[in-house]
């Protein structure tokens, strides 16, 4: 068992390399997780932006946090799909009958989700810079933003893991993505919530995405994040905790 522990990170890097190849060889994945959010950003800034009153002088600055979450949310169906195929095709069984740590296969997917989302987030930010995004935020604020985005990614990844590990069909595995895609749309991502009718506004203001967006917006503009940051953290950590327990249960049942 000693040797297995020493090899854990090597095994994990093999798993990461494998799923990253899956991503880079799937045009569909790349389009959905980077091209689509960038297109959305272009659309909102250059077509709809003129008509949207946010109170901010630079709409790209307002929009960027929401676009980042859209990019992450878009990747979730793929994580679920990759897990599902590994279970379905017997790849996990092959790994589990080998002398490698049992959890390496699953953590490989989690790590892949973190790394691939980090890449698409950086790409989206670079495009935003070209479009005039500017931020006075310092290194600490950027680190805090990276941390919150990582937590958000983890929360969605573990939800995706539950779906991918317990689904009976491919459609079931990726269905989890649809409600998640909606969350950024009904939030303060594109327009301030005060313009929305009562019940929609109530939902928008009390769902996790809005608090995360408001936190990132505050950090980017060097405003104090206030209590939003704690609400955002509580959502992320709470979801990670619950989803992790259910995902692990599904993993043990499957494997």
């Amino acid at each position: 068992m000693e040797t297995i522990k020493n090899y854990f990170f090597i095994d994990l890097s093999v798993m990461l390399g494998r799923s990253m190849r899956h991503i880079f060889r799937s045009m569909d994945t790349i389009i959905t997780v980077t091209v689509m959010p960038v297109a959305l950003m272009l659309l909102f800034v250059y077509v709809l932006g003129g008509a949207i009153q946010t109170g901010a002088d630079n709409y790209v600055n307002y929009l960027l946090p929401g676009i980042l979450l859209v990019a992450i949310a878009n990747s979730i169906g793929y994580t679920s799909f990759r897990l599902f195929t590994d279970v379905q095709r017997g790849i996990f069984e092959r790994f589990h009958s080998m002398p490698i740590a049992r959890s390496a296969a699953l953590w490989g997917h989690v790590l892949t989700s973190l790394v691939s989302n980090a890449i698409s987030v950086v790409v989206v930010i670079l495009v935003a810079l070209l479009m005039g995004f500017r931020s006075p935020a310092g290194v600490l604020s950027w680190l805090a933003i990276a941390g919150i985005l990582a937590l958000f990614t983890l929360a969605l990844t573990w939800i995706a893991a539950i779906a991918g590990l317990s689904a009976k069909s491919v459609d079931g595995a990726i269905a989890i993505a649809y409600p998640i895609h909606f969350l950024p749309l009904i939030s303060s991502a594109f327009v301030p919530t005060r313009s929305m009718p009562g019940p929609v506004r109530a939902f928008a203001e009390n769902q996790p995405v809005t608090s995360i967006i408001e936190t990132i917006r505050a950090l980017l503009s060097n405003r104090p994040a206030g209590h939003e940051i704690w609400i955002a953290l509580a959502w992320c950590v709470g979801i990670i905790f619950v989803a992790y327990i259910f995902a692990m249960r599904a993993y043990k049942r499957r494997a």
């Binding site: 093999v14 190849r21 017997g90 790849i91 009958s97 080998m98």
Partner: protein, 253 residues
Amino acid sequence: MENKAIRVKGLKKSYKELDVLKGVDFEVEQGSIFALLGSNGAGKTTIVKILTTLLKQDSGSVIVNGFDVSLNPGNVRQSISLTGQFAAVDEILTGRENLVMIARLRHLKDPRQVADDLLNRFDLTAAADRAVSTYSGGMRRRLDIAMSLVGKPLLIFLDEPTSGLDPEVRIEFWQIVRELADGGTTVFLTTQYLDEAEQLADRIAILHEGRIIVSGTLSDLKKLFPATKVEYIEKQPTLEEIFLAIVGKKEQK
């Protein structure tokens, strides 16, 4: 000196209501080819999964290469490899990448060399750098088996390795299994094809209704069959007839 690669005693397993294994006993000699026969749903895959540490038994003892599968699963995994019922290959990677990946997970010195050798041996060199999704069923199965041989495991499990292969590829596959056994590897294979067991196995066990109803060499099994009938042509019983005869007898009781 331990000369049994596998020892199974009183193995029981049920899925909820369904009693699949009701007390299975058998032993496999090191370096031999052992065939487990059974019809669909007999529990062959269930036995393979328990022996390869993928599934826990309800009761009974299972010793693989000297280690108990429930107490020391890690040690068991060091010396075995599994080729499951359905080819477990990565469709998006190339054949070479699949082999290199397994070699790296087995922590071998020179993964690329290991991959090259196996590609060569399994006649996959020409297709080595193509995505596996473009492979034919036979190529996929060959790659699957090649992946199981990475790191030269002492004992390999093949769960219905030839289902879905055309007759030519099957014969090719039998050759591979014989070579493995000649090299000292123990082979545990399950099959529904009685001629496959007849062709390959040193010992054969028949799993029926949760128990091994008969086991032995091919000639042992042939002795169990009622004396050959003399008709126009004298015909040796095939294993299929033995199987049906035994199953029929049991069911009459």
